[in-house]
């Protein structure tokens, strides 16, 4: 049952860790008002928040793919100081406290900020719009895609690309036929991770985009507000978030297993 290489006593701290992680989540299931769950989840505020979250997360995940995938490819095939700097920069939003991410966005893209002023001049005022939510989500979620795809690309597969090149394939053909298919599982799990991170985005949205039902108040913001007055709704919505997140993590672990057998 336990592999001989692993000391048996290890299961004690491991067991504690598992209980520590699982207990609060299980406790929340116990607090859900199951009878009123459908009513709680069908209130206009809850439906708006859920719908807005799904829409914005889809948009930001697409943005993460469109922009993050090329960045991951370039970083994976770059060497030297600048590549290292790029890697650090690309993963920085991952470890920033969300409020700091929100402040950084505000300083760059706010109405009074240098970039924001120029955008406003073109009639693109991000302040308090749904677009601002997508920007905040993309900012915090893209690193997850970049890091997982870049890691997968760097750890393997270069030989196949070299072979393809010696056989006369153009760089674009190699990308389409060799690199991307091989990185497929990593791209899929990175995308799911980015979506999950975007879904959970809270601090940057609150700081940068504001909170208005149907426009900027995503699921986590609605939970935060509901908590002030109606704990049952907050817990019901948390349950929805938990189930979606669990599904996404399950998807990523399935894909990382696929990757494991492939390489």
């Amino acid at each position: 049952m336990i592999r001989p290489a692993l000391p048996r006593w290890l299961v004690v701290p491991a067991g504690f860790a598992a209980v520590f992680l699982a207990a609060p989540l299980i406790a929340m299931f116990g607090r859900v008002d199951w009878l009123r769950l459908p009513t709680l989840l069908s209130s206009p505020a809850a439906v708006d928040a859920l719908w807005l979250s799904l829409r914005t997360c889809l948009a930001s995940t697409v943005l993460c793919l469109v922009l993050g995938l090329p960045l991951a490819l370039v970083l994976a095939r770059s060497r030297g100081r600048w590549a290292t700097a790029g890697r650090v920069l690309a993963s920085l939003p991952m470890v920033l406290p969300p409020v700091v991410a929100g402040l950084a966005l505000l300083v760059a893209l706010g109405r009074r900020a240098w970039l924001g002023r120029h955008l406003s001049a073109f009639g693109m005022d991000l302040a308090f719009t749904t677009a601002a939510v997508v920007v905040a989500q993309t900012f915090v979620a893209m690193p997850y895609l970049v890091v997982s795809v870049e890691g997968a690309l760097r750890s393997a597969h270069e030989n196949y690309e070299i072979v393809a090149a010696t056989l006369g394939a153009s760089p674009t053909t190699i990308l389409q036929r060799v690199t991307l298919p091989l990185a497929g599982p990593a791209i899929a799990s990175g995308t799911a991770l980015a979506f999950a991170r975007a879904l959970g985005e809270f601090g940057a949205t609150l700081t940068f985009a504001g909170s208005l039902q149907g426009t900027t108040r995503t699921l986590p913001l609605e939970i935060y507000l509901a908590r002030e007055s109606d704990t049952d709704t907050a817990i019901a919505l948390s349950l929805v978030l938990l189930v979606i997140a669990a599904g996404l993590i399950a998807v990523t672990s399935v894909f990382s297993r696929v990757k494991g057998t492939a390489s």
Binding site: M1, I2, L106, A127, S211, L212, E228
Partner: protein
């Protein structure tokens, strides 16, 4: 088998210690005060003078949203004094038998408009000058939002906010940074924002007053000391500090 056993033991250990999980033995000379966030400046300075008048006593504060504090008290948080930033939350606390005796009203707060320095959007009050402008208010469900909605209704004003924040400090931050053209906050918040904002008074703002109540927590082990702190807040020294911060006296 072993794995299951370990998991079960761990569960038993954890659940065994859960109910009595109120550690940190409070020495008799420590007074713990739970107070609404908007009281942080005034209460901190009152705490200092309380310590000066009671040698050997340390006053510790936990400032947070009043409803969060009530939740924490319900979970058995070891507090001696609770000061709520509105009546509904103090009612919740008294309904749950968390307060010894009846709480006392010690201050009130009214609303005002704040705008970025220089008032670039030309706001004149809760009126048509707000049309098409980026107005930020507190959301329904949080005390300052409830008061805002009530006042707007009484004044016959229709507010079309671009954002309904969960905390009054978030409204302040959005006006101070110039993201919003105007925000509705408490007079005390406007004062705390200082020179970063301009204040536009709302006509008849005193129609709706937010009430602040303070009481001794029922489970307090220092109830005598806690009563003295309440007396300081409701007494002349406390009232002087509070009115200096913009609170309306009861």
């Amino acid at each position: 088998m072993i794995r299951t056993l370990v998991a079960l033991t761990a569960l038993a250990v954890l659940s065994g210690c859960a109910p009595g999980a109120t550690p940190s033995p409070t020495p008799s000379t420590e007074l713990v005060v739970y107070a609404g966030s908007s009281l942080s400046d005034t209460y901190t300075s009152l705490g200092k003078s309380f310590e000066a008048a009671h040698p050997g006593v340390t006053v510790k504060f936990s400032f947070d949203g009043s409803s969060e504090l009530v939740d924490q008290l319900k979970q058995g948080a070891p507090a001696d004094v609770f000061a709520s930033a509105d009546r509904p939350n103090m009612d919740k606390a008294t309904a749950a038998d968390l307060i010894a005796g009846s709480p006392s009203l010690f201050a009130m707060n009214t609303l005002t408009i704040i705008v970025p320095k220089g008032n670039p959007a030309g706001i004149t009050g809760l009126d048509s000058s707000l049309d098409g402008r980026k107005l930020v208010v507190c959301g329904d469900g949080v005390p300052c939002g409830t008061v805002t909605t009530k006042l707007a209704k009484l004044l016959g004003a229709t507010l079309k906010p671009v954002s309904q924040e969960t905390k009054v400090t978030d409204v302040r931050a959005k006006v101070e940074s110039g993201q919003a053209d105007a925000g509705v906050v408490y007079v005390t918040d406007a004062k705390a924002s200082g020179t970063k904002v301009d204040t536009i008074a709302i006509k008849n703002a005193d129609l709706v007053k937010n009430e602040y109540l303070v009481g001794v927590v029922a489970t307090s082990k220092n109830s005598n000391l806690a009563s003295q702190f309440v007396a300081l807040v409701t007494g002349s020294e406390g009232q002087k500090v509070l009115s200096g911060a913009g609170f309306v006296l009861s």
